[in-house]
Symmetry: C2
Subunit: 225 residues, 2 copies
DNA sequence: ATAAACCAATCATCCTACAACTTTTAAGGG
DNA sequence: CCCTTAAAAGTTGTAGGATGATTGGTTTAT
């Protein structure tokens, strides 16, 4: 089953394997892990070793155990879990400020490094935004809007930036929604996004900076109301 | 010694207490923990419970155990440890980009919200930079320079931003040093910092933005060489 | 004096047993 | 037959002991 990687302890090996099973999607978020007995046999370790591994992951935020019930997958990424905890302790405005800082940088980087397929995705997002706005579907609009911003960050081609942004955006979903709902100026959003996309498309960093700053300032204005 | 917080499992309680002892400085980074036997008695738990707690902290990156030798404190913050691991996997440029994104935002926020004591600290840092530059003490200069940037971020008055920045800066210390050494244009650094401080002092957001962007662009230019 | 052998301290792993909690099953009364 | 309730089974939590593996220092022999 497992080879003797002498540099890693048994516990570390088990932790690693469990992490892989979670990250690979074999155990999805929310699903229940097999009981300890089965896992002991599966990994060929004692109960202590297995439990130490599981507890390490519980503390890391990836798993959650309930006595008498079982162990479930709580999160699929250690960074996400750490961010969750940290965000829970800080206030909403602070988190949004950081998120916008990342977005500002992302727009500038995207203008330099975006690929052709990024453009396609962003265009699709804007189309979805327009459709939703025309139909007056607020929920749908916000969903497409967030997708646009995530895609924008992805186009920046920086994995760490993307990870941080997404792990910061997801826990804030409803808060963002609230800010967006405050005044539903669909048209404004639509325009900004189009202009920003155009700048990124032409790799015009200055314009991209200008438009993303406009958007961020508008967002912050709403936030302070 | 042991408080009965029945909400938490014994393991979690032990983890919490160890974390507190580390964060409070009772056990400093690099120091050795007492052997398991003593800790068992101190926390009044069994060996399994204690070991599960210690291993959780090992996996979190706060502790490090060596068979036959003992357990030492490796880091004092979970976020820092997570960052360390994540940064180790992504490349240097990506991390620096994110760090600069945070710094850009910090400068703008600092221009709005800095207190009087922030100004004093920043002035002191610049003074130290100048002294070190005049004496040609590179090491000292870089140290003071980093302190200036950290203080700048602190003046932004955003705890999450500060935590992320610091935990991103510390693991990059030597990399930053390398970039700074590349060409030691002390004068340039000195000027930018003075101008930036002046803008922050006068709560002039536009100027602060301008100067921090200059600094960041210069830094990035060096990075790409 | 140096290197090999030894020894004590310490962590790593495994084992068994029982306690506490949850879910499922079954029994009993209406 | 249905509902309530009690028993049973399943699962994680805690305890304590036994043995192996590794490290660091000490002693001993050359």
């Amino acid at each position: 089953m497992l080879k003797k990687a002498n540099r890693m302890s048994l516990v570390e090996q088990v932790i690693s394997q469990i992490e892989n099973l979670i990250e690979s999607g074999h155990w999805t978020v929310g699903s229940k892990l097999p009981p300890e007995m089965e896992l002991m046999e599966k990994f060929e370790v004692s109960r202590n070793t297995l439990r130490e591994a599981i507890h390490a992951l519980v503390h890391a935020g990836l798993l959650e155990t309930k006595q008498g019930s079982g162990t479930i997958v709580r999160s699929s990424s250690a960074l996400e879990a750490t961010m969750h905890r940290h965000i829970a302790k800080s206030n909403l405005v602070e988190t949004l400020e950081v998120r916008l800082a990342l977005e500002r940088e992302a727009a500038q980087l995207a203008a330099k490094r975006r690929g052709e397929e990024d453009i396609d995705i962003l265009k699709t997002c804007i189309k979805q935004c327009r459709n939703a706005a025309d139909k007056g579907e607020l929920e749908e609009f916000i969903s497409a809007d967030i997708k646009f911003h995530k895609s924008l960050v992805k186009a920046a081609n920086n994995q760490l930036l993307q990870d941080l942004y997404e792990h910061m955006t997801d826990p804030l979903y409803f808060s963002i929604q609230d800010v967006m709902v405050m005044d539903s100026e669909f048209d404004y959003e639509k325009e900004i996004h189009s202009e920003l996309l155009e700048a990124i498309c032409q790799k015009n960093v200055e314009d991209a900076t200008k438009y993303v700053n406009e958007y961020i300032n508008e967002f912050k204005k709403r936030l302070s109301r």
